[in-house]
């Protein structure tokens, strides 16, 4: 009576493992296999191509800046919506989550509409010789938009549960706003924060849609790693494409693994 049978459980567990294997692990493995088909030497050489190096550099730069900016912005946003009740708070929470629900392509299009040559501020930018669309600033803006929610979203449940009392205690003991944030609120939320930062990084490295729209696909200049993979693949440079893909997958997996490792640690620490 009551509760699933042991056998049913075993079937369920097996099915879950199979699904994960087929949907998540197999593609990554195939990418690796494909990259190494003509030997590790060819794969390595393909990474040393100037366009490939430029793509890696651009991706790392954009991801770094986006992560830093969105960590600061995410902390403030999460803090504001969880510690204060104000008019329009619900709308702000919905806005924070907007980039998750909106297609990245639309995010890219918005930036083009604003900063592209035919865009609203296109003329002005052109006259002042400022390049945003089809240049690094545009790619950065697109990445910023897409990765904004992650730090805020991972911090919000934690800060909600944290409440205001510890901060009020710090305030009454003479600590100012920044001191309280830096010495009381954030150290307490450090695991959630780290988790959010790693998610932002993983998402930023892999972003394709929004970046694709604003980048203009200029090899060696405005191609990030995901864009470069597409270019290589379309040019029948299979080994180079899969090698770059394998590298991208490895970086992403490393961040995600680090995150789950930290989360495990965090659970141990809090129990």
């Amino acid at each position: 009576m009551g509760g699933p049978s042991r056998r049913g459980n075993a079937v369920l567990v097996a099915a879950t493992y199979l699904t994960v294997l087929a949907v998540l692990v197999l593609p990554v493995l195939l990418v690796m296999v494909e990259a190494l088909r003509t030997g590790i030497g060819a794969a390595w050489r393909s990474l040393l191509d100037p366009d490939a190096l430029s793509a890696i550099r651009l991706t790392l730069l954009v991801t770094l800046v986006a992560t830093i900016v969105n960590t600061a912005g995410g902390i403030m946003a999460a803090w504001l919506v969880t510690k204060y009740r104000f008019r329009g708070r619900g709308i702000l929470v919905a806005l924070i989550e907007l980039p998750i629900s909106v297609s990245p392509v639309i995010a890219g299009l918005v930036w083009l509409l604003l900063f592209g040559r035919q865009g609203w501020w296109g003329d002005w930018l052109d006259r002042h010789d400022i390049q945003i669309a089809f240049a690094t600033p545009g790619i950065l803006l697109a990445t910023l938009f897409v990765t904004f929610p992650y730090v805020a979203r991972t911090l919000m449940p934690f800060m909600e549960q944290q409440g205001r009392e510890a901060e009020e205690a710090a305030f009454l003991l003479g600590a100012g706003f920044w001191r309280t944030l830096w010495r009381v609120t954030l150290p307490d939320a450090r695991w959630a924060l780290l988790s959010g930062i790693l998610l932002t990084t993983a998402r930023g490295i892999g972003e394709f849609g929004a970046v694709s729209v604003v980048s203009g696909h200029i090899p060696g200049l405005t191609e990030t790693m995901p864009l470069h993979i597409e270019t290589l693949y379309n040019g029948y440079q299979t080994v180079a494409a899969f090698t770059m893909a394998a590298l991208l997958a490895l970086i992403a997996m490393a961040t995600v693994l680090l995150r789950s490792f930290l989360e495990h640690d965090f659970r141990k620490a809090s129990s």
Partner: protein, 366 residues
Amino acid sequence: MSVQIRSLTRRAPNASRKMLDGVSLTIEDGAFVALVGPSGAGKTTLLRTIAGLDGPYEGTVLVDGRVLAGRPMRERRIGFVFQNYALFRHMTVARNISFGLDVLPRGERPDRGAIAARVAELLELIQLPTLGGAYPDQLSGGQRQRVALARALATKPGLLLLDEPFGALDPIVRRQIRRWLRGLHDQLGLTTVLVTHDHDEALEVADRLVVMQNGRVVQEAAAETLDAAPATPFVMEFLGEALEFPGQVAHGRFLPDDPNVLSFAVGAGDGPATAYLRPHEARLVAAGGAARAIPLTGGQGGLRRLAVALGTREVEILVLPERLGQVGTEGLGLDIGRARLFRDGAPLAGAPPVASGQELPRVTVG
């Protein structure tokens, strides 16, 4: 430090409801005052306002004759202890205690040795000398409470504000800690304001009680005064179990509506009135009435709990066990001569707290 509050009004955010409604209160230097009242009465709001937490208010709050709003916290010399302690979970006990000193501007901050010495001194004071390296999660509720107190005391405040500090503790620890707290108050020469919804706790630890209801101060007095001359029926009922007897004042006597309850002399004008008294203040008399006594379980302090069937209803009183032997259980009258009388929610002038002669009112049973 003294606190003067003049017509303080606070509204709930996004609502017109007043959380505090024209509160005026003076707390003398060195006093130990308890703010008591049911939840939602505004006790915590008042305490937080004195501390300078939360937003704007109408009226004035003076601490030692000065307005604190806008002054840096370290100049205010206020220590605050939260209901759930609000310790910093990621810091050791020692770091928690030294926090108020660590965040002082460089010029005013004592050197490391001095801070360490102060922490050691406070750990000694809260009787946890060996727990400086522990984290709050490793402590019991009572220990956390004392750490929170030590943290509030580290910067040597003159005014200590405590928000339901014993709420989460078990009864034995509660009693120990409040006695210890009272000792600390006397020893350090503090002015202490304690919020509690537990009147027993307030009566035991504080010099004066401030009874609050619906954002107003209903009465402010020493414990004995509150009990002997409560300002409203609410104060009477809040401070302990109370029996209520509606009735009339006529020709200088209070005549209860219930049969078999003795009338008593009062110095008040004619009209309706309600008598309140504590269960142990009621007396059974063998005066030819028709009330019956039914022993119940649950006596206290050597007194026996009885249900007294008056004919119209039953009331529960506490009597000495011998008394039942003297008067029996049948044909009794109930003497409520020690009751406080109220009319329209205000005490009746001239109603004596102790009665002078009783007689059964002429009310027929049944």
